[in-house]
C-alpha cells in the first residue's frame, strides 16, 4: 500500500488510493477477521500520518490490545498512542460514532467500553511478561489523563520496584506524567523516587533524577525531603560520573553520558535554589564540572551551560559566579552560533545578578549585535540594552547608530526603538540628545514611532539656546535624507518655528560649520515637502502650517507662499483643502493680526508630555492648560495639550481657544475661519 501511495503523482490520485484502502479496511473490520487486524491497523496508522481521518479504526486498537499475542498488542498500543490522545478524546470520538443511539444507551455503552479499556490496562500492567507491562506503561506515559492517573497510580508505584530495569525506568517516566496531571498524588511517590536515585543503571538513574526534579517542582514536601536526604548522594553520583573512566556505551564526544550530567545538574539546581546548606554541599562539584569539562564539543558545552545555570541560581558564591560568567564569555567568542546564542540568553539572566561582571564582555556582545543571524542579533541587542548606564551610554549609542547605517531592514525597527529609548533614558545633555536623535531620524526615520518624534520636538522646544543649532542641523539633514518621513516632519516643524533663526544664523555654536541659508532656500525645502508625492498627509499638513508661519517670518516672500498655499484649495484631501483656504484668507485679509497668530509656539511642557506618554496623567481634561470647552457646533470636546493640537491631523478634535495669546495658534488649526475672524476681525 505504501508503495502504491508513493507512486501517486498527484494529490487527487493519492486520495483515491487512500479511499480504496480505507474501504477495504472497513470491510475486513466488519468481517471481524483476526489475522489481518494488525496489518490493517498498521495501514491505518500510515493513512493517519498522511492526514486522513481514521476514527473508524479506534475500536480495532482496543480489540488488538485485548488479544493475547505480543505482536498484536504491540501494534494495538502503537495505534492507540497515535490515533488517540487523552481519554476524553476517546470518549468524545466514541460518542460521536454512536450518535445514532439514544442518549441513555449511548452513555452506558461508552461506560462499558471504558471499563473494558481500563480493566484491560490493569491486566496488562499486572501481566507477568515484562514486555507487555512495558507496552502498557509506554501507552500510559504518552496518553494518560487525570482520571487514568488517579486510578492507575498504585499500579505504577508498584512497578517502580519491578525487577527489570526497563520497566522501572518506564514506570518512573509514567509517574512524571501522572504527577503532572494530578499533583496531589505526588507525595505517594516520594519514597520510591528517592530509591531510584541509588540506582547504578544509567537509564533508571536518569529517569529517577527527572522524576525527582518534577516531584520537587510540584510538591514542597518532596523538595524538603530530597534536600535533606538526597543532596549528598546526588553530589556523589555526579562526582563518580565526572571521574568515571571511558565507557563506550554512554560516550558522547569523549564525555560519559552528558545527558545524565545535565539532569543531575538540573536537579541540584532545584535543590540548591534558596537553600544555603544544600548549595554549600554542591559547591565543590560545581567548580569541578565548570573547570574540568572539555569545551570543544557540543556535549561538553551543553554540560557547561547547564552548570552555569545551576551556579547562577544556587545560593550566592562570588567565586563560582565569576567562573560562570567567564565561561559564558568564552562561549561568546565561540565560532558556533548555537553556543553564542545560549551564552547571550544566559547573560541576559545574569545581568540582574551581577551586571559588573557582564560589563566586561561588552565589546564581544556588541559584535554579536552585528551578527547575520536574526536570533543572535535580537538577544545581543536586548543584552546591550540592559547593559547601558550613564557612564557607557555615549560609546554604546555611537556603536549602535553606526551599525544602524548598515543593518538589515527587518532588524531596523527593533534597533531604532531600542536606541531611542536608550538615548531618551540616559542622555547626559540636551545637545547630545538632539544630535543622536537627528542621526537616528535621518538613518531610520521611517521606523520611528510617533511618540518618539513628538518627544524630540518637545525637547527641542525646551532647549531655547539650541534652537539655532538644531534648525541648521535639521536643514542640513533634510538635504540628504528626504525620504525619512519623521525626520522631514521634525525639520518642517522647526523651520516653520525657527525660520528666522535659520536665515540669520543666530546662536552659532563653535563646533558648527558656518552655513548660509537664504529665505528662499528655506522656503524651497518646505515647498518641496508639500509637493513631494511620497509625503503623507500629516507631513503635508505640517508643511502648510510651516509655510504660514514663514510668511510672517519672511514678509518679503509672502506672495510666493500664498501661491503655494493656494494650489491646495481644491485638494481632494479635506484636511489640506481646509488648511489651504483658511491660511490663504489669513495671509490675504488679516495682515494686522497675522504676526500674533503665527508667533512662536510657547515652550511645550516637557513634564506634561512625558506624563501623557507614560499614561500616568488620568485625563487631559483635568490639566489646567486645556479646559473643556464648548465648540460652536455644540459638542463638548476635551482639549488636549498644545503639541498634539498643532500636530493633530483631525481638526475637529482640536479645542476652541481659551484666552491666552499662545492659544491663538490652536485656533488656527482648530475651528473654522469664520469663527476666528469673528473674534479677531
Amino acid at each position: 500500500m505504501i508503495r502504491a501511495i508513493r507512486a501517486c503523482k498527484t494529490a487527487a490520485e493519492e486520495r483515491t488510493v487512500v479511499r480504496k484502502e480505507c474501504a477495504a479496511i472497513r470491510d475486513t473490520i466488519n468481517e471481524n477477521d483476526q489475522d489481518y487486524r494488525h496489518r490493517n491497523l498498521a495501514k491505518l496508522m500510515f493513512i493517519h500520518m498522511l492526514g486522513y481521518p481514521t476514527h473508524f479504526g479506534q475500536m480495532e486498537c482496543l480489540k488488538l490490545i485485548a488479544s493475547p499475542g505480543f505482536p498484536e498488542k504491540r501494534i494495538g498500543y502503537l495505534g492507540l498512542m497515535l490515533l488517540l490522545d487523552e481519554r476524553q478524546e476517546v470518549l468524545m470520538l466514541v460518542t460521536n460514532s454512536l450518535k445514532q443511539y439514544p442518549v441513555s444507551i449511548r452513555n452506558s455503552f461508552c461506560f462499558c467500553i471504558l471499563a473494558f479499556f481500563y480493566s484491560d490496562f490493569q491486566t496488562n500492567l499486572n501481566h507477568t511478561n515484562q514486555y507487555i507491562v512495558g507496552l502498557a506503561l509506554c501507552a500510559l506515559g504518552n496518553i494518560c489523563s487525570a482520571e487514568m492517573a488517579r486510578d492507575l497510580a498504585p499500579e505504577v508505584e508498584r512497578l517502580l520496584q519491578f525487577r527489570d530495569p526497563n520497566v522501572r525506568k518506564k514506570a518512573a517516566l509514567c509517574t512524571i506524567r501522572i504527577i503532572k496531571k494530578v499533583p496531589d498524588l505526588a507525595e505517594n511517590f516520594i519514597n520510591s523516587a528517592a530509591g531510584l536515585l541509588r540506582e547504578k543503571h544509567h537509564g533508571v538513574l536518569i529517569t529517577g533524577v527527572q522524576l525527582c526534579t518534577e516531584l520537587s517542582k510540584v510538591c514542597g514536601e518532596a523538595l524538603e525531603y530530597f534536600r535533606m536526604k538526597c543532596t549528598e548522594g546526588l553530589v556523589r553520583n555526579l562526582k563518580d560520573l565526572v571521574n568515571s573512566p571511558y565507557s563506550p556505551e554512554y560516550d558522547v564526544g569523549g564525555i560519559t553520558d552528558p545527558f545524565l550530567h545535565i539532569r543531575l545538574l538540573k536537579l541540584l539546581r532545584v535543590l540548591g535554589e534558596g537553600d544555603a546548606d544544600a548549595s554549600d554541599c554542591m559547591n565543590d562539584i560545581l567548580a569541578q564540572v565548570a573547570t574540568k569539562t572539555e569545551s570543544n564539543k557540543v556535549a561538553g558545552n551543553a554540560i557547561l551551560y547547564e552548570c552555569v545555570q545551576t551556579i547562577m541560581s544556587v545560593e550566592d558564591n562570588g567565586g563560582l559566579r565569576v567562573l560562570a560568567i567567564n565561561i559564558l564569555g568564552r562561549f561568546l567568542s565561540n565560532r558556533d552560533n548555537n553556543i553564542r546564542y545560549v551564552a547571550l540568553n544566559m547573560l541576559i539572566k545574569a545581568v540582574a545578578a551581577d551586571a559588573q561582571a557582564v560589563q566586561r564582555h561588552r565589546a564581544t556582545i556588541l559584535e554579536c549585535v552585528k551578527d547575520s543571524d536574526a536570533s543572535i542579533q535580537k538577544r545581543a541587542l536586548e543584552l546591550v540594552y540592559s547593559l547601558v548606564n550613564e557612564s557607557n551610554v555615549k560609546s554604546l549609542t555611537k556603536e549602535l547608530i553606526d551599525y544602524l547605517e548598515v543593518s538589515d531592514q527587518d532588524f531596523r525597527g527593533d534597533l531604532t526603538s531600542k536606541i531611542c529609548s536608550i538615548v531618551a533614558k540616559f542622555a547626559p545633555e540636551k545637545i547630545w540628545y538632539i544630535d543622536q536623535m537627528l542621526k537616528v531620524l535621518s538613518e531610520a526615520g521611517n521606523f520611528v514611532k510617533d511618540e518618539v518624534w513628538h518627544s524630540v520636538i518637545v525637547v527641542i522646544s525646551n532647549a531655547s539656546d539650541l534652537h539655532g543649532y538644531t534648525v541648521r542641523a535639521l536643514y542640513r539633514a533634510l538635504q540628504t535624507s528626504v525620504e525619512q518621513e519623521s525626520l522631514v516632519r521634525v525639520a518642517v516643524w522647526c523651520i516653520g518655528e525657527y525660520g528666522d533663526i535659520l536665515v540669520k544664523n543666530v546662536g552659532m555654536l563653535d563646533l558648527e560649520d558656518p552655513i548660509t541659508v537664504t529665505e528662499s532656500d528655506a522656503l524651497d525645502v518646505v515647498e518641496m515637502t508639500v509637493k513631494r508625492h511620497a509625503s503623507d498627509l500629516t507631513t503635508k499638513a505640517m508643511a502648510l502650517v510651516a509655510l504660514l508661519k514663514l510668511c510672517s517670518r519672511f514678509p518679503s516672500c509672502s506672495e510666493r507662499i500664498r501661491n503655494v498655499i493656494i494650489q491646495y484649495k481644491g485638494n481632494l484631501l479635506l484636511e489640506l483643502q481646509q488648511r489651504s483656504i483658511e491660511f490663504n484668507r489669513i495671509i490675504a485679509n488679516y495682515q494686522n493680526i497675522r504676526s500674533i497668530l503665527v508667533e512662536r509656539m510657547p515652550v511645550l511642557d516637557e513634564a506634561n508630555f512625558v506624563g501623557r506618554r507614560d499614561g500616568s496623567l488620568p485625563g487631559t481634561a483635568s490639566t489646567p492648560t486645556g479646559p473643556s470647552v464648548n465648540l460652536p457646533n455644540g459638542v463638548t470636546k476635551t482639549s488636549v495639550a498644545p503639541l498634539v493640537d498643532l500636530l493633530d491631523l483631525n481638526s475637529d478634535e482640536a479645542p476652541a481657544p481659551s484666552s491666552s495669546g499662545g492659544d491663538l495658534l490652536q485656533d488656527l488649526l482648530g475651528v473654522d475661519l469664520p469663527s476666528t475672524s469673528e473674534q479677531f476681525g
Binding site: R74, G203, T207, F259, E306, N338, V342, I376
Partner: protein
Amino acid sequence: MIRFILLQNRQGKTRLAKYYVPLEDSEKHKVEYEVHRLVVNRDPKFTNFVEFRTHKIIYRRYAGLFFSLCVDITDNELAYLECIHLFVEILDHFFSNVCELDLVFNFHKVYLILDEFILAGELQETSKRAIIERMGELEKLE
C-alpha cells in the same frame, strides 16, 4: 519537557510526528506546516534554535530530513541538540545506514524506537546499545 517531535522532509511531508501534549488534529496539521516553514529556509550558519509561539524548536537537518523537537523555553538547547543526534545514531545503527525510505516503510519500528528512547516527553535511555538490544529482543517476540 519535549512537547512534540517532528520528522519532515524538505517538501514538508511529515515522516514521523509524536505529540506528548494533546492537540486537535487540525492544530497538529497547522503546527507541522508552521514548523516546516520555520526551519526549511534557515541558513545552515544560523542557530539551530527558533522560537515558536511560547516554546522553542530545536532542529537539526540530516540530508533532506529535518528533525525538530519542540521544548520548553527554559530547557537546555544544546542538550536537546545532542539528543537529536543520538536518536539519529540509533536509527542509523538499527537500519544500518538509515535513509528516508527506511523510515517510510518501517514507520511502526521508528515509533517503537522512539518509545524506547523518549517517554512522556522525557529522556528514557541514553545508551545506544541498550536501545538496540531492547529492539532486538522485541523483534524476536514477533
